[in-house]
């Protein structure tokens, strides 16, 4: 056992080591992307409103009059200290935006993953188990259609049906205003705060608000899960160790569940990791559709006010999130699948 945990630790360390160059490259990428525009961020954002002297003053404050390499060095340093700068347009620190608005995005993303898994795993397994049946075909078509439907259109349709016509669910925001005001802020994650304070009405209200966004965003990625699980199961069922299990007289139900299902679900974790990018992009659109003030909405707002510092800070944060999550996914994989550690 100790030998195994040792190999796991070694794996984790190696994986972290591999993530470092990735982070560096991403940072360079963001930095370069943010500076391909002519002129500099400050004049781009506030060119018309300030006198040249004020502008120069602002540029100096933000360090945009320094050489590029020095600017990059300071950018690196600020990222390492998790301080992503202060916005030009409204003077908020990017880290406080992340803390205050990140909860919405997190709640949205986690709920969407739950929906995607809750729907995708059983559907994928059934489609693969009863391959080429009518149900399989329907499931495959469903997967393709959900993939082809943009989240925002699906979101609008859901709003039309469940909010405007049926009036069952609220169409925007993460809770009623009164609820938002009455829940004491602890974690900046409204649902969690409501749970902690034991306000069950608030929890229910928040849940109702998030239901449509969760389903909408979940359906965006469910197709990928269905397809992946279906193909995995089909391949596993034809696999060598499944035949070997049959040859030992293992019950067919056990062969399917214990040998095929379990093994075909291992790559799901990996797929989930690959879907994070899609999920984050989808989250931006979902937030916009349902008027949720998460990080995606904030990013769009700052883009519209041409606030380069805010955009750079938020994009950097997104990049770090992607790297960290893909790392976490690999760790989980190593825990589940003993072969990965070697």
């Amino acid at each position: 056992m100790s030998k195994q945990s040792g190999s796991l630790r070694r794996y984790v360390l190696t994986r972290i080591g591999l993530a470092v160059p990735m982070v560096l490259i991403l940072l360079v990428l963001v930095f370069v992307l943010m500076r391909v525009a002519p002129g500099d961020p400050i004049s781009a954002a506030q060119g018309g409103h300030l006198t040249p002297a004020q502008l120069a003053q602002k540029r100096h404050q933000a360090g945009f009059d320094k050489p590029l390499i020095l600017q990059f060095w300071e950018y690196l340093r600020s990222v390492l200290t998790l301080n992503f700068g202060t916005t030009i347009s409204d003077g908020r620190s990017v880290s406080s935006i992340i803390v205050q608005n990140g909860g919405v995005t997190l709640t949205l993303a986690v709920g969407a993953v739950v929906v995607a898994l809750g729907l995708g795993v059983p559907l994928g397994l059934l489609a693969g188990r009863y391959r080429d049946s009518a149900g399989d075909t329907v499931t495959r078509v469903f997967a393709i259609v959900t993939y082809a439907t943009p989240v925002f259109f699906l979101g609008l349709l859901a709003q039309l049906l469940f909010s405007s016509h049926l009036g069952w669910l609220p169409s925007s925001g993460q809770a009623d205003t009164l609820v938002q005001l009455n829940v004491p802020t602890k974690t900046h994650i409204l649902l969690l705060d409501a749970l902690i304070s034991g306000q069950w009405d608030a929890v229910w209200n928040i849940f109702q608000h998030y239901l449509l966004p969760w389903i909408t965003l979940g359906l965006l990625i469910v197709g990928v899960f269905i397809r992946m699980i279906r193909i995995n199961l089909i391949q596993t069922l034809q696999g060598d160790y499944v035949e070997a299990a049959r040859a030992r007289g293992i019950k067919e139900s056990d062969v399917v569940v214990k040998h095929a299902f379990r093994n075909s679900l291992v790559p799901v974790v990996t797929v989930l990791g690959l879907q994070i990018a899609m999920l984050l992009g989808g989250a931006v659109l979902t937030e916009k559709t349902f008027n949720l003030s998460g990080l995606g909405s904030m990013l769009i707002n700052y883009i519209n006010s041409r606030d380069y510092i805010a955009v750079q800070g938020l994009v950097t944060f997104f990049a770090l999130v992607v790297v960290v999550i893909s790392m976490l996914i690999d760790f989980i994989n190593a825990l589940i699948d003993p072969r990965v550690r070697y």
């Binding site: 060598d240 160790y241 299990a245 040859a247 030992r248 293992i250 019950k251 699948d337 003993p338």
Partner: protein, 365 residues
């Protein structure tokens, strides 16, 4: 099917040097469906295996050996049609339900595979493989009993108890094959098919595995069908041998007898093709095994047979039980039996085929 096959008579008392067969196969056919038509992978095959006996099943790849081994155990792939009789201790396995077959596999019937590397579930510890197998067939076992039985089986294969909780990927190929064997034998099946168990392994491990299989039948009276294309293994490890060609058994008999005096031209050619220290030149059988969707008429070997006669291309040869105890499905043995050759071929049937072919057509590219 029972219309023409009477169940095998019990071995006549007194003469039998062995007891009743554990498994006797009669007219077994396993055909696969393909868009071009059915593939006659196993086409009317008969054989018996007695307790403690090893029957070697040899032939070129693609001749139906593996299909035969799986068909006997009810593991023919989806869509395959199986008929005939696989008589295992009085029950015909072909007529059993999937569920009944599943219950027999493990405690009564076992299968050892060719490639050990992929046959163990990578996410399950060795211990879990054993626990699952034992608990399925003997639900009453306690945890300790499971462990005891498993460790005993592993010890027999030279796997130390300290490795019991390891994962498959932590073992070498040879060790995995021994684990697979232990797993197949932990319930002491009376009949085991070993499908090229050593092909994927190196020569030293091969010898080890063969010795283990030999011990097995000595110690537990297990009846074994050893599928291989390695004639050396047959000579070393098998009591009897069945030579398969294009879905049929063309010759079978006592291993030493068949090797010393092969009767069927295919067996003769196969033996000539093996390499030994005394080999001076490489011999091979020209041509390739036939297409099993449309096998050749008459004897399936006739297009490649150096001794083919005219009758061979037209009429399927009967199985001839020779005085040596071997059986050979060849006109060279059958022609001497009065009335064997149908009257229409009685006059020119014995003429060599090669001559006739040259004269007729060269339609084959």
């Amino acid at each position: 099917m029972s219309a023409h096959v009477t169940s095998p008579e019990p071995a006549p008392a007194g003469t039998a040097d062995t007891s009743r067969p554990v498994l006797s196969v009669r007219d077994l056919r396993v055909w696969y469906g393909t868009p071009r038509g059915p593939v006659r992978a196993v086409d009317s095959v008969d054989f018996d295996v007695r307790p403690g006996e090893t029957l070697g099943l040899v032939g070129e790849s693609g001749c139906g050996k593996s299909t035969l081994g799986r068909g006997v155990l009810g593991l023919a792939p989806e869509g395959a049609a199986v008929d005939g009789e696989v008589n295992f201790r009085g029950t015909n396995l072909v007529s059993l339900s999937k569920k009944q077959l599943q219950e027999l596999r493990g405690p009564e019937l076992g299968l050892i595979f060719q490639e050990p590397m992929t046959r163990l579930n990578p996410l399950m510890r060795i211990s879990e493989h054993f626990a699952e197998t034992l608990k399925t067939h003997e639900p009453g076992l306690t945890k300790d009993q499971v462990r005891e039985r498993a460790l005993e089986a592993l010890r027999g294969m030279g796997i130390p108890p300290s490795r019991y909780h390891n994962y498959p990927h932590e073992f070498s190929g040879g060790m995995r094959q021994r684990i697979m064997i232990a797993l197949a034998l932990v319930l002491r099946p009376a009949f085991v098919v070993a499908d090229e168990p050593t092909t994927a392994l190196d020569v030293l491990v091969e010898a080890q595995i063969i010795r283990i299989l030999a011990d097995l039948r000595r110690n537990f009276d297990t009846a074994l069908v050893l599928i291989t294309h390695n004639l050396g293994i047959v000579a070393e490890a098998c009591d009897r041998v069945a030579v398969m060609y294009a879905g049929r058994i063309v010759e079978q008999g006592d291993a030493r007898e068949v090797f010393a005096r092969p009767q069927h031209p295919y067996t003769q050619e196969l033996l000539r093709s093996t390499i030994s220290l005394s080999t001076t030149g490489l011999h091979y059988i020209p041509g390739a095994p036939p297409d099993l969707v449309e096998p050749p008429t008459g004897c399936r070997f006739h297009p490649r047979c150096p001794k083919a006669m005219k009758v061979c291309a037209a009429v399927e040869p009967p199985d001839v039980l020779l005085n040596s105890g071997s059986t050979s499905a060849c006109w060279h043995q059958a022609q001497n039996i009065a009335g064997a050759i149908p009257p229409e071929h009685a006059t020119d049937g014995r003429e060599p085929l090669a001559l006739a072919e040259e004269i007729s057509v060269a339609d084959e590219a």
